[in-house]
Assembly symmetry: D2
Homo-oligomer: 338 residues x 4
Amino acid sequence: MIIILKPNSEQQNVAELIKTLETEYNLEVQRMDGVNYSILGLIGDTSALDTDPIQEKEVVKKVMRIQEPYKKVNRAFHPDDTIVNVGGFEIGGNRLALMAGPCSVESEEQIISIAKKVKAAGANFLRGGAYKPRTNPYRFQGLGIEGLKHLETARKETGLPIVTEITSVDLIDLFVDKVDIIQVGARNMQNYVLLRELGKCQTPVLLKRGLSATIEEWLMSAEYIVSGGNPNVVLCERGIRTYETFTRNTLDLSAVPVIKKVSHLPVIVDPSHATGLWWAVEPLAMAAVCVGADGVMVEVHEQPSEALSDGKQSLLPDKFSKLAEKLRGAAALMGKTI
Amino acid sequence: MIIILKPNSEQQNVAELIKTLETEYNLEVQRMDGVNYSILGLIGDTSALDTDPIQEKEVVKKVMRIQEPYKKVNRAFHPDDTIVNVGGFEIGGNRLALMAGPCSVESEEQIISIAKKVKAAGANFLRGGAYKPRTNPYRFQGLGIEGLKHLETARKETGLPIVTEITSVDLIDLFVDKVDIIQVGARNMQNYVLLRELGKCQTPVLLKRGLSATIEEWLMSAEYIVSGGNPNVVLCERGIRTYETFTRNTLDLSAVPVIKKVSHLPVIVDPSHATGLWWAVEPLAMAAVCVGADGVMVEVHEQPSEALSDGKQSLLPDKFSKLAEKLRGAAALMGKTI
Amino acid sequence: MIIILKPNSEQQNVAELIKTLETEYNLEVQRMDGVNYSILGLIGDTSALDTDPIQEKEVVKKVMRIQEPYKKVNRAFHPDDTIVNVGGFEIGGNRLALMAGPCSVESEEQIISIAKKVKAAGANFLRGGAYKPRTNPYRFQGLGIEGLKHLETARKETGLPIVTEITSVDLIDLFVDKVDIIQVGARNMQNYVLLRELGKCQTPVLLKRGLSATIEEWLMSAEYIVSGGNPNVVLCERGIRTYETFTRNTLDLSAVPVIKKVSHLPVIVDPSHATGLWWAVEPLAMAAVCVGADGVMVEVHEQPSEALSDGKQSLLPDKFSKLAEKLRGAAALMGKTI
Amino acid sequence: MIIILKPNSEQQNVAELIKTLETEYNLEVQRMDGVNYSILGLIGDTSALDTDPIQEKEVVKKVMRIQEPYKKVNRAFHPDDTIVNVGGFEIGGNRLALMAGPCSVESEEQIISIAKKVKAAGANFLRGGAYKPRTNPYRFQGLGIEGLKHLETARKETGLPIVTEITSVDLIDLFVDKVDIIQVGARNMQNYVLLRELGKCQTPVLLKRGLSATIEEWLMSAEYIVSGGNPNVVLCERGIRTYETFTRNTLDLSAVPVIKKVSHLPVIVDPSHATGLWWAVEPLAMAAVCVGADGVMVEVHEQPSEALSDGKQSLLPDKFSKLAEKLRGAAALMGKTI
């Protein structure tokens, strides 16, 4: 960490600041004097140090961090890729995770039928929402525990591991018992109470990027889980909020190479929620694979126009089947398989 | 709601759509044919209707809502201002709510000392965090229940009602018991499980705007609480995330007249968190009063440079005292008092 | 266009509005009465109609457009893809445009040397800036006409057509004389005086998306050029401004399928300026091809650390050569060649 | 400027970098070694130094600027407020600039009539567009030189100095001859060719903030004008582009105290264009005065529903008259007059 001192600061105040840093924070301080500014360099572990109080000191012009605030998820301290093992399937390795299914579980028949179709097409995970966080209090909020049971039945029928979203801390035991990957949705990415509790289990967590989260904040949320003891985190880019309104959100595919550069965690992409436009899903899924993502999550629905939520962005099973075929080509180009 | 049909649609498919809308959704449908497009107008209550499945129909080009999706918090259905009564103090009336205090409760002495000072300066509410949602898992997370108790002591000493942030559903009973206004922070604005439970109590809720929430989404979150049975919601604008980095967030003061126009709920402004710059708090607090806000929330700390969180944006008690004096002038200009 | 009337409007005022629309704007008006709202549907050509004055009428609640405001660049009225022919090379067809070169032309030797290297690697266009719009008035502003001459020399040596940015109307004649594709930079995307003049020549124009332009605004800028008489417009996505700061801008690859859906113009992608990070260029260029772009524009520099501008995002010729090799694979996957 | 070196860098490469900085850039370099990182501090004038090539050096992890890149408009080097004198009226002093008038000049009668009314209400400047930059090529583009002449006539009739927008370099002589303040619109804020030429005249320039310009970029655009020799720059905040769609843009009132802190230039606020909602103009104009702005620019139109552009955001003269009355109260509160 670097501290820029204000010009013409009282030397006694600077000396006090240095003393505080040395004694209270246990840091070594080096001083460098320039023409307009003097600088203090702090040597030691500053990752837990809150910069705001220092910023407040009368003699301080600016505090600049050098190191990233995340440690456990930082590639600098963990150079090898993390592979998240879900019942034998390795996310982050050479196989592409292809997660498919409806936005919401609507009935046992529906989810089993779709599960069979997406499996036949090549999906290796089944997704489907049982607990739905909805902006509108008057809309369908999901089947809840019934939905979870239907997902379990679909898993039994097809062998596909299941991914579904959690909305509250008190559901964790239930999810650990029933679910293969616990999804944390964009709106809960900074629900730190939930993240902290998920750090205490070992079930893999799919951590969606918050609607307006920076990549650093997203990694800090992952840090909550990993530092709590659960290393099995898979990140999921799902679009960020921008001024553009044609697409529901703006899919930030550059986040994939950035995550690969600064972190060791696997990262997948959800083009369905990002755009809200079914016809944009195929090209963006292809792009996601070719930008280096470890998987793709796609909404599939048998009759999108009847879907209880998010129909506009769902593919019909036929279209998904063609997409999966194209993704196999893209995977091969990247030296991977599905 | 209006449905724009695609040109050259099969008339049979259109007839089926109309039938679905009439029988399944119980709406009256009126049709209008233009040169390039035909339009269906839906007559009836469409507020709970999910537009996505309709959007998906083959014959549909676009679905356009005419009515706002919120009802209980909509001024159209509730023309009079809501006044939220907090132990006799009426937020939303002619007195300006002036909420002041530190970001975090750090000790009993600290909070009592500040409470006395902000009261002397003219504050009518004491704010202070006991449970802190922090981006960084390694930083101070608040004193928890100890902090709540210190706040109660400070209230006893000064008579100031207390406002503090809740972070989890399982704290609701505790907060209802101890707190005068329960604050829902920006990161929990779309924690629908929490909102729904807060709708079951009668304690006033201060609902901060999410970092990237539209005004409509913010009102939909208020709708969760009010439709659940708790009409005592005060909104709080605290800055939105934009590309500008000089200020921490961009304070959206235009949200105040917009809220006043479309909703009947009171709305206050927090310039401290919005900017993260103590020297910008005074001018923006003045602006907040003059734009028509029902109150202002300001961070005050005795030694900002020692604050365990958010020191950079806190005012010293002296500065707060001068600000309160200026705000009295602004209140008078607006026909209000503090 | 649809006009929603306010409830309980004076019938005489509504009648006046209808009369104005019929007589002044020459539109047919159909009326539909609902329970809460009445609606007017306007039949006829409303594309040049300014909605604001209508919005202002006392009886009007809201005006909703059904048709896009762009016509010449709208795929609805021009279903076939536009192919822009640049000296025999067809942008928008089955060959991928691969434009490469330095941010700035620095000397004749430099641009010839790079031109030869990028041509050997597979590039089919040479890019390089002679007139540079710089945020900082104290930095290198380009070689100007000398730079243009160096580009011409490089074209003579290699046969590569040249693409370079224009910054002012009075340069148009010079550019038409010397350049194969005139680039309009992001900062000039809404310089309507410049666009209108470019509509009067036939030289192909590469129109970069403005830093905060919506897709619709971008197409409206293309409409200025095409409606002026120059159909040879190639769009270029180069990243939009968002709150994320890790990358310089956020590359919006979803814009590519959207453009393909609503317009017939070709569209290419510039991952170098979008991210400002050389190591993100390769994955994003791959993604651009696989999302369906008609080409890629890449910065290449022999010694990036000496570049007079934008070195941080440039590839060394060797790296570019490897990228071109990979792009050939991606092109093949998409049924294209380079 | 500070350079963070990569850990384990080759000492010879570091030595070369230091030598380059000392000899080519004429800087003094101080080195500081920490546990994980070594740091170079650069002493000397680095304001014209391009950081990108340095960033590119193999041994460099990060380059951090300490000083702002703007100099002439920086309060650090010019502590006193700049007062821009327009025919005796001092913008930036104790009188509030109140600029009012229609979006577009539509006829001589129209502009004279409005000019008289806004003058009677208290306006001290007349605004009106003669050259209009419009997104849509099919809409009214302004009366051009005829409009300028009408403005001159209105000035003769009322004595109000006139403010109007320039759209192109070749209009500068005309504007210098006829206009009191030359407005540079948001879309031209980074039209550096235009800015550079405006730096060569002495006519005051009203520089609107670009739609997605940071405060720093805005100041850099002002730097173009001031460093060119024209110190008479007035800044104008007019809303920035965000994800919020209720208002046309988001008025960033925090920009006013920030500008006052870091620059000495006067700054005014345009709430009409920012929101696009006439009923939000009054509260935001009040807020603008109370946040410390040096003036307010307001659209006024006699029959907003007939306006050729931007009617939705215009006030009727009566409403403007009431607004001016209220602004006098706000000005008094701030120790100013109108």
